[in-house]
């Protein structure tokens, strides 16, 4: 650094350096892209501001109880709106969905990337992507008319065999419209995103690492668990959290297969009462008063913020878990 000093001791005059575009075409391109980028950021901010303004009356009246209370009562004036059972229900569904989806997605990605012959891998990829393209309402209808009768059987079986575990116990005799069933539906909906992120991570893996594991006497299973999964873990967690973000916002499909109840259901996943912020908004919006709409907007804010938080965590984990990718 000393060499930069001039003999007189004063620091040399710095030149202005620029990376701004100089060609006309570049300037236009730069203008359009930066406008689009800033606009999308502004849009997210504006949506949040709009929601907050509309939500303000309910938030102001309920205060923190909006988040932690468990009553929704429109028979009193002004009505009571507290969404904790719905918030917890959303979290429970997301957890169930992720728990069921992650093993499926990893197995699928492993099959596509490492085991299946090329034609089969291509078809499997296509089918998984197709699953992602299915509209939510179609999955909801399938869930209601096709899947629910099947899953009721599973649920009953779990109650009979593993009923001594608190989560599978269900003395009501009704096994439909439960978080268990809705969790499977969420899993079906987030398997594609987790699979495609995991597959991408697998395909970018240094093949020499896998070869090294094989050359050291690794079998298929030990290579997967000791080398492939740890190396890909950051990406898989990131993909899972992206899926979780989607799971939290899942609306119509859940609306078809889950009984919404403000009687909080902590872990009895096979009982016919659960919660989901998004589905609750859908179910109440049709006949809501102005003040109730304000409460639903506030629920929207909660959903929005929790999805944002999860996305931030996803980004953080993906960066932190793969220090060697720098």
């Amino acid at each position: 650094m000393a060499a930069e000093q001039t003999k007189s001791g004063s620091t040399p005059q710095r030149r202005t350096l620029t990376v701004k575009p100089t060609l006309l075409g570049d300037k236009v391109f730069f203008g359009i892209t930066s406008f689009t980028a800033y606009f999308s950021i502004a849009l997210v901010g504006l949506v949040l501001v709009f929601l907050l303004i509309r939500a303000w009356p309910a938030l102001q009246h309920e205060g923190i109880n909006f988040l932690i209370g468990s009553t929704w009562d429109d028979s009193v004036q002004p009505m009571v709106m507290q969404i904790f059972p719905m918030l917890w229900g959303s979290i429970l569904l997301a957890l169930l969905g992720v728990l069921l989806a992650v093993p499926m997605a990893i197995a699928l990605a492993y099959l596509i990337e490492f085991l299946a012959p090329k034609p089969i891998a291509r078809v499997a990829t296509l089918l998984v992507d197709l699953l992602a393209a299915l509209p939510s309402v179609v999955i909801g209808l399938w869930g209601l008319f096709v899947f629910t009768p099947v899953a009721e059987g599973w649920s009953e079986l779990l109650h009979k065999t593993l009923g001594w575990l608190p989560f599978f116990a269900n003395e009501t005799g009704n096994f439909s419209r439960s978080p268990f069933i809705a969790g499977w539906i969420v899993a079906v909906m987030i398997v594609p995103i987790i699979t495609s992120v995991t597959r991408e991570i697998f395909s970018q893996m240094d093949r020499d690492l896998i070869n090294a594991a094989k050359a050291l006497g690794g079998g298929m299973a030990s290579t997967l668990t000791r080398v492939i999964l740890p190396t890909a873990s950051g990406g898989i967690v990131g993909g899972t959290l992206l899926g979780l973000g989607r799971a939290l916002g899942e609306t119509v499909a859940i609306f078809f297969v889950l009984n919404l109840s403000f009687d909080i259901n902590w872990f009895d996943v096979s009982e016919a009462r659960g919660g989901s912020i998004a589905s609750m908004i859908l179910s109440k919006l049709g006949e809501a008063t102005d003040y109730e709409i304000s409460g639903l907007m506030a629920a929207g804010v909660v959903l929005f913020v929790s999805t944002l938080i999860i996305n931030f965590i996803a980004g953080y984990i993906v960066n932190r878990a793969q220090p060697w990718r720098k």
């Binding site: 070869n211 030990s222 080398v227 220090p323």
Partner: protein, 261 residues
């Protein structure tokens, strides 16, 4: 043990290799005696790395790979019926062109990774770590940082770590696929010294593009060549001194003197 092959520790008999319909290697017959270093040289695409991978059954992991012939380890065909490829790879270790330590593991975990991957039981892990690192001449540089991530090491250190990782499996044969091509001259020299020390205890086969390296480290040399779309073959095989200084084939002479390739 079969007496007729007892003099050669590792031996390839009429090895032919295909990728799909493409015949890439024809009739390779080579002997790799115990405690000798054999260099495989030849221009790019002549099939020498492919041949190396047939020696520990890594070749068959490539889809569409085909093979004929046999590879005998102490007289036993490693492609024989009932031979588990995993057992073959435990006896015949491999070091790759680019250093490839497992990025999620520490230095110590990398050394023990082969034992864990192959499901072998071991008790004295610390001893295995120290012995392996010492044999790869890297112990003194890493002994105080065994818990640090392997990728915190320099490229040359990573490659010696990979050698140590193979040595932890106590292989009888070590295959090296251009182990120094990604390294600086200093690291290259240290690995060559390690190869010399290791050859006292095992059979080593090394693929190299570096003529000087082949002359420095090897006892015998095989020159591979693939001409005009024909499959690669061994043009000349003999003591390193003969192949470099008194080549029989004109093409060998041209290659070792830098006239092509």
């Amino acid at each position: 043990m079969n007496l007729s092959t007892a003099t050669s520790h590792l031996r390839s008999e009429d090895i032919n290799v295909w990728f799909g319909e493409r015949h890439v290697l024809a009739d390779v017959n080579l002997d790799f005696p115990s405690n000798q270093v054999t260099a495989l040289i030849g221009p790019s695409g002549c099939g020498k790395s492919t041949f190396l991978r047939t020696l520990n059954r890594m070749h068959e992991l490539i889809p569409s790979a085909g093979l004929a012939g046999s590879v005998l380890l102490d007289g036993q065909d490693i492609y024989g019926d009932g031979v588990n490829p995993v057992d073959v790879r435990i006896k015949i270790g491999m070091v790759f062109q680019k250093p490839n330590p497992f990025p999620t593991m520490s230095i110590k975990e990398n050394i023990l990774s082969g034992l864990k991957l192959s499901g072998r039981k071991f008790v004295n892990g610390d001893d295995i770590v120290e012995t392996s690192l010492r044999r790869a001449s890297i112990w003194n540089e890493v002994k105080d940082r065994l818990g640090e991530p392997a990728i915190s090491l320099s490229g040359g250190q990573q490659q010696r770590l990979c050698i140590a990782r193979s040595l932890a499996m106590e292989p009888e044969v070590l295959l090296m696929d251009e182990p120094c091509s990604a390294l600086d001259p200093g690291s290259t020299r240290r690995i060559e010294e390690t190869i010399e020390e290791l050859s006292e205890a095992m059979t080593i086969v090394i693929v190299t593009h570096n003529m000087q390296q082949a002359q420095r480290v090897s006892h015998q040399t095989a020159f591979f060549l693939a001409e005009d779309g024909n499959p690669g073959t061994v043009v000349e095989f003999g003591s390193t001194d003969d192949v470099f200084n008194r080549p029989v084939d004109a093409r060998t002479n041209d290659y070792v003197n830098g006239h092509f390739g």
